[in-house]
């Protein structure tokens, strides 16, 4: 069927474009010295990931990915970066032979991990029946589907996480609240600060 073949080609193109955006954004995030540029690269990565979720018919997850990570959490990151406005030079970074050795070690470890994963994945993909090839049911990954799963099968984890978030919010409020000192026991007016005191 030509229509299906065309759709397949379109999906392939979108997939590779998204892959480029995700990987490019991730690389820029860890290589850029400028923190705001790094944060915006991470936003691009999140956006590419969301597009990949739509390719997997997980529309709800895609929208939430952009809404929560790109739209809310990264905004907070950028906000904090802007307020702190740190120097682009990294005074705490390890330089010289120690830094290079550590870097090479980390790169080697990463290559090892990635290689193991790719080998395992290719072994899994070539196995017969390891993954589904048929298209998901209509409505799969949609709002109603995810909502049903959250409020029936996964109700306990869902409620437990909401409790955890509530604890985190209360903790943040406790940390951030302005401490009101109790008024001094004596009724004297507070003494004005001495002049010239620094």
């Amino acid at each position: 069927m030509p229509a299906a073949a065309e759709g397949h080609l379109g999906q392939t193109i979108v997939f590779w474009v998204c892959t480029a955006v995700v990987l490019g954004g991730a690389l820029l995030t860890i290589t850029r010295r400028n923190t705001v540029v790094a944060a915006m690269s991470l936003v691009a990565t999140f956006f590419g990931l969301a597009a990949m979720f739509t390719l997997l018919s997980a529309q709800f997850l895609a929208a939430i990915q952009v809404l929560v990570y790109a739209g809310a959490i990264m905004t907070l990151f950028v906000f904090v970066v802007m307020v702190l406005n740190r120097d682009e030079r990294e005074p705490w970074a390890l330089r010289g032979i120690v830094g290079k050795a550590l870097g090479i070690g980390a790169l080697g470890y990463l290559t090892l991990l990635g290689g193991t994963f790719l080998l395992g994945a290719s072994a899994l993909l070539t196995k017969q029946g390891a993954y589904h090839t048929e298209a998901p049911k209509p409505g799969w990954g949609g709002v109603a589907d995810v909502g049903n799963a959250l409020f029936t099968t996964y109700l306990f984890p869902f409620e437990a996480i909401s409790l955890l978030l509530l604890v985190a919010v209360i903790g943040a409020v406790v940390v951030a609240r302005t401490v009101k000192h109790a008024p001094p026991a004596s009724q004297e007016p507070p003494t004005p600060p001495a002049h010239g005191e620094h």
């Binding site: 939430i64 809310a72 905004t75 802007m82």
Partner: protein
């Protein structure tokens, strides 16, 4: 001359609606095009953005000056002659655009060039994308333009081969809008930070804190409407609002309407919520921008006004619905399909236009909030109210709706 202000937009909307009906109901199918294909979606996007949103955004820049002038008992720009044609000063927005295009594009010496360029793009792109989910008519059934279709026939036709008057028909619907709109905050923040200017940085900080705060209320306020209409898809929500005004969102969700409209106006960053600009305090996150880069912020602001109107009209004012109008007219078999399509577009456009006018009126009536008042209103008043709205709506829906339990 007052009647012209009503007549001219109305005539323009009728023509636009007729063009859309002919384009998607006859021309594209006659050329062998598939109304469900990606190029049909592209054409729809081009039609709604270039035919309706951009021109209206341009006219709004003039309307804002004229309307503020009327409200302040002065004349405002009433002439911009092109030869002998005065056209009430309408040509001002063309002059504005030309001025901005030819102005020097100045970039401050210490600005971060990349992010400085990214700022206006991030401000204008999300607004353009979000128009993809707005339905501007029920849709057109190709090949049946002169027939008298019943509601059922039209619905069946739209599901199989007809062209919806909506760029994409997503199941997640308005969630897509919230996701994309949440990216608009980067426009202001990046512009403020990259300009290397203390005032613009303050403006950017104010913008990001304000937009983050009011996004929460905006999302929660519209949840009540989702509960009532049982869908997140704007076209389905419009369909569910039926042909009676009593089913419109503004009647079933009055509190939700007020909360959503307030939060949406705060998101557009216009008076009384123009703390990020505050020209007497920090001038704004775009203080270092000139030429067309500033023009993009300016245009984005007016397109946000139009988009806010479009969403409020869709969710709370029945979108393209005219009370009593079915797919075959007010009485069965009264009107041909093309006439109904055109009328529905006109109804939608008039609602958007009136809501734009209403937003301009708010803009020129209210004084600016202080930042602390803004935060108190957002977090301590609007947010609890929107939570209460959800709770009450959920209770009522559970009690009244058959099958909700």
């Amino acid at each position: 001359m007052g009647w012209l202000a009503i007549l001219i937009p109305l005539v323009v909307f009728v023509v636009l609606g007729f063009v859309a009906t002919l384009l998607f109901g006859w021309l594209i199918p006659a050329l062998g095009g598939d109304l469900h294909s990606w190029y049909a979606a592209l054409l729809k996007a081009a039609f709604i953005l270039l035919g309706f949103v951009m021109p209206l955004a341009g006219v709004l820049t003039w309307m804002e000056r004229r309307q503020s002038a009327m409200m302040q008992d002065r004349l405002g720009p009433n002439r911009a002659n092109v030869g002998p044609v005065r056209a009430f000063g309408l040509m001002h927005f063309v002059a504005d655009a030309l001025k901005m295009l030819f102005k020097e594009d100045f970039v401050p010496a210490n600005a971060n060039k990349l992010l400085f360029a990214l700022g206006p793009v991030m401000a204008i792109a999300p607004v353009l994308i979000t128009f993809a989910v707005v339905p501007w008519g029920s849709g057109v059934c190709a090949g049946h333009l002169t027939d008298r279709l019943t509601d059922g026939q039209l619905a069946q036709c739209l599901d199989t081969g007809g062209g919806r008057f909506q760029v994409v028909h997503l199941e997640i619907g308005l969630l897509f809008y919230f996701a994309i709109a949440s990216l608009a905050v980067y426009g202001a923040t990046l512009a403020g930070w990259a300009s290397y200017n203390k005032w613009s940085l303050l403006g950017g900080l104010r913008a990001s804190s304000q937009m983050m705060s009011y996004e929460v209320t905006m999302g929660l306020a519209i949840l009540g409407a989702f509960l009532v209409y049982g869908s997140l898809e704007p076209a389905t929500i419009v369909q569910a609002q039926g042909d009676s005004i009593l089913h419109w969102g503004v009647v079933t969700q009055p509190l939700g309407f007020v909360l959503f409209f307030t939060a949406a106006i705060a998101e557009t960053k216009r008076t009384p919520f123009d703390i990020p600009e505050g020209e007497s305090e920090v001038i704004g996150y775009f203080v270092e921008y000139s030429g067309m880069r500033f023009g993009m912020f300016y245009l984005a602001e007016f397109m946000e006004v139009i988009f806010t109107s479009a969403i409020v009209a869709t969710v709370f004012f029945g979108g393209w619905q005219i009370p009593g109008l079915h797919a075959d007219g007010f009485v069965a078999g009264q009107m041909p399909h093309w006439l109904v399509c055109t009328l529905q577009f006109v109804a939608w456009a008039v609602k958007v236009f009136v809501l734009c006018w209403f937003q301009l009126m708010i803009r020129w009536t209210m004084p600016r909030f202080r930042p602390d008042q803004l935060m108190r209103l957002g977090w301590k008043q609007l947010l609890p109210a929107s939570l209460a709205n959800i709770l009450i709506t959920a209770g009522v829906v559970l009690a009244l709706m058959p099958g909700a339990k």
